[in-house]
């Protein structure tokens, strides 16, 4: 399968016209690159690029943005798109003008959809948690009074003393705050030209420009503390592994008197592996007298074992929650071994037990995503048919009340009852069909579930068109047939005949 995947993927190549567009865009960087020096000796360097795109309107939009970018940013179009992709809830963005009365002169960073580029080559790719902290910090930071005597000093982007850049977009403007290493802050706002107008030939002048001088040491301290947490947040997110290692990477087997789970159990196995990784095993404890040896524990409620290159590991969990973790290294022939580790823990075994059974139960249920798929659209009708022995008899109750109950059952509770464990389909067992019609936007969808007496349920979904029916999908599930019939009776369906 691995080779098949690779072979299939390798056939994907970039279309020639796309390649040409990209080459042209890259070559245009050279043409639009501008360098100029201010009177005060500070150098402005900006990289603009004409973006060659599939859509004419995009060309106009980006040309306009690029025109701003020529003056506005070393981040150029890259930054524009980086921003667009990074946090793009423009609708919720707030114009700076509306927020000038706040303590932060640039607006409420909790509301602004901004990118914080700390000049650390991460280009503002931080977690939402970090952005929340940055917003809090930026809002509360003392930016001081607007600094009027700039002595000709203006934009500091792309100069070696740049500390960081913040930028965001509103519906009609591009706002940027540059902060230099000495605390000089320059805020500029460019109002974007109307995209219906032709691209500008001249760079835009800022609609607004402000300057501040901040305590850069305090600013840096606050920022570095927050960014240091970013690594911890990332590590925490990825470190969901047990003290014994990552169960999702092991080929383990878990068993107790009634349960045996290994990699053949698919989803249960994955869920149990996750649970074992997340489980709070607590601190290592001392061995209990007389129960030091793993083989001395004979009341194991659970035994979990796995092997890594001739190292065989055991986790034995006794009825009272006493846990022995041990590992033995075997030779090539598995004839001799030496112990390589042994540790002891104590856990709450009933919760562990419940967790395992929850995993098994969850693995059998269909996912919420599947349920959403199966119930997508507006229900038009739900009918029940008796299709046993070649019949095709509509047995949906005719009385309004019962009809509604059965409709609600078939379109709701019945779907929730479906499980993922597939039971072989057998024509002799065919008993009912539930035909559910949905309106999904302008489409009419028919989902028919064939329910077998052995619990097998097969779904066929079609799109109903004027020309006929187009199959959309098919899927197999199972259901507790007795429970299904009990509900039908309860809701007034006549299934006795």
């Amino acid at each position: 399968m691995d080779k098949k995947l690779r072979n299939a993927a390798e056939k994907i190549t970039m279309p020639e016209d796309m390649k040409e567009r990209i080459i042209k865009a890259c070559e245009n960087i050279d043409k639009t690159n501008i360098e100029r020096t201010d009177n005060d000796g500070y150098t402005e360097v900006a990289s603009g690029t004409e973006r060659i795109s599939r859509k004419n309107n995009i060309i106009r939009i980006v040309s306009a943005v690029a025109a701003c970018a020529v003056l506005a940013a070393g981040i150029g179009t890259t930054g524009v798109l980086l921003h667009k992709n990074h946090r793009s809830q423009l609708a919720g963005s707030e114009d700076v003008d509306a927020a000038e009365s706040r303590s932060c002169p640039f607006g409420d960073f909790n509301e602004l959809d901004y990118t914080f580029d700390a000049n650390d080559e991460k280009y503002g790719y931080y977690s939402d948690e970090t952005y929340a902290k940055l917003s809090e910090f930026l809002n509360g930071f003392s930016w001081g009074e607007e600094y009027e005597n700039t002595e000709g000093r203006k934009i500091v982007q792309d100069t070696p003393d740049k500390y960081c850049t913040l930028y965001w977009f509103t519906d009609d403007a591009n706002c940027t705050v540059w902060i230099s290493n000495d605390g000089f802050v320059n805020y500029v706002k460019y109002v974007l030209p109307d995209v219906s107008e032709p691209p500008l030939s001249e760079p835009l002048e800022p609609a607004e420009s402000k300057y501040y001088m901040i305590d850069i040491e305090a600013f840096d301290k606050g920022v570095q503390e927050i960014l240091a947490q970013e690594e911890a947040i990332a590590a925490e997110k990825e470190s969901d592994v047990s003290p014994f290692g990552d169960f999702t990477a092991f080929d383990f087997e878990l068993q107790n008197g009634t349960v045996r789970i290994n990699k053949n159990n698919g989803r249960s196995y994955e869920l149990v592996a996750d649970m074992l990784n997340r489980w709070d095993w607590g601190e290592e404890t001392e061995a209990q007298p007389g129960r030091e040896d793993p083989f001395a524990v004979t009341d194991s409620e659970y035994e979990i074992s796995w092997e890594i290159d001739h190292d065989v590991y055991w986790l034995k969990i006794a009825e009272d929650g006493y846990v022995i973790y041990s590992g033995d290294r075997y030779d090539e022939d598995y004839l001799n071994s030496e112990e390589i580790c042994r540790k002891y823990y104590n856990i709450e075994v009933n919760s562990f037990d419940e967790g395992i059974y929850e995993c098994i139960s969850e693995a059998e249920s269909i996912t919420q995503e599947e349920i959403d798929d199966l119930t997508s659209g507006e229900l038009i009708s739900a009918e029940l048919y008796d299709i046993s022995e070649g019949k095709n008899e509509n047995i949906t109750p005719t009385s309004e009340g019962d009809k509604q109950y059965v409709e609600e059952f078939l379109s709701g509770m019945f779907i929730d009852m479906l499980k993922d464990n597939i039971i072989p389909e057998s024509q002799e067992d065919l008993r009912y069909s539930a035909v559910l019609m949905y309106k999904d936007n302008d489409k009419t969808i028919r989902r028919t579930y064939y329910v077998h007496e052995n619990g097998c349920v097969v779904l066929y979904a079609y799109e109903v068109t004027a020309a006929g029916e187009e199959p959309i999908t098919t899927a197999s599930y199972s259901v507790d047939f007795n429970e299904f019939e009990n509900f039908l009776v309860k809701f007034g369906a006549d299934i006795e005949n």
């Binding site: 995947l5 072979n7 050279d30 973006r51 980086l82 992709n85 698919g266």
Partner: protein
């Protein structure tokens, strides 16, 4: 600013690879084009000095996958429709199943699977490129592989 004048050479050399990765992650040709284009723009404006060809390649992949991840995040927030890959891209029918199955995996598995199985990076290299831990790469590979097998066998065989 660097490497200008050799845009064609760079796009010819790395374009297919970056496009393949972006398309498999984003499942949308237009977005993939955006991701590749922005990657090359960054390459010509912001790329550091590279130690060797592998370093350069890994840098490009890192930038491209970061862009793809951002686009996916943006897509989640804005409910952008992804297109049916095979409707817009001519993949041979015999290959469609495995790619379709791959497309159905969640993003975090798909990125790792593409780098491992398609671009044949080692686990530690993938960890460097994607910025996730080695154990997380292993975990995602292991789970992703199982999910892919399951989906492929269930739906396309």
């Amino acid at each position: 600013m660097q490497k200008c004048g050799c845009a064609r050479e760079a796009v010819e050399k790395y374009g297919d690879m970056l496009y393949r990765i972006s398309l498999l992650i984003l499942k949308n040709t237009a977005d993939a084009e955006d991701a590749v284009q922005e990657t090359f723009i960054k390459y010509f404006t912001k790329a550091p000095e590279f130690a060797d060809g592998e370093h350069e390649k890994a840098w490009l992949i890192t930038v491209a996958t970061n862009k793809c991840r951002d686009m996916l995040r943006c897509r989640t927030r804005h409910e952008t429709e992804s297109e049916e890959l095979l409707n817009t891209y001519a993949v041979e029918k015999s290959d469609s199943g495995i790619l379709e199955a791959l497309m159905e995996l969640s993003d975090k598995y798909r990125i790792i699977m593409v780098l491992f199985y398609v671009e044949q990076y080692k686990i530690d290299e993938i960890a460097d490129i994607t910025g996730v831990s080695v154990s997380a790469v292993k975990m995602r590979l292991s789970r992703g592989r199982k999910l892919l097998e399951e989906k492929y066998r269930k739906e396309y065989m």
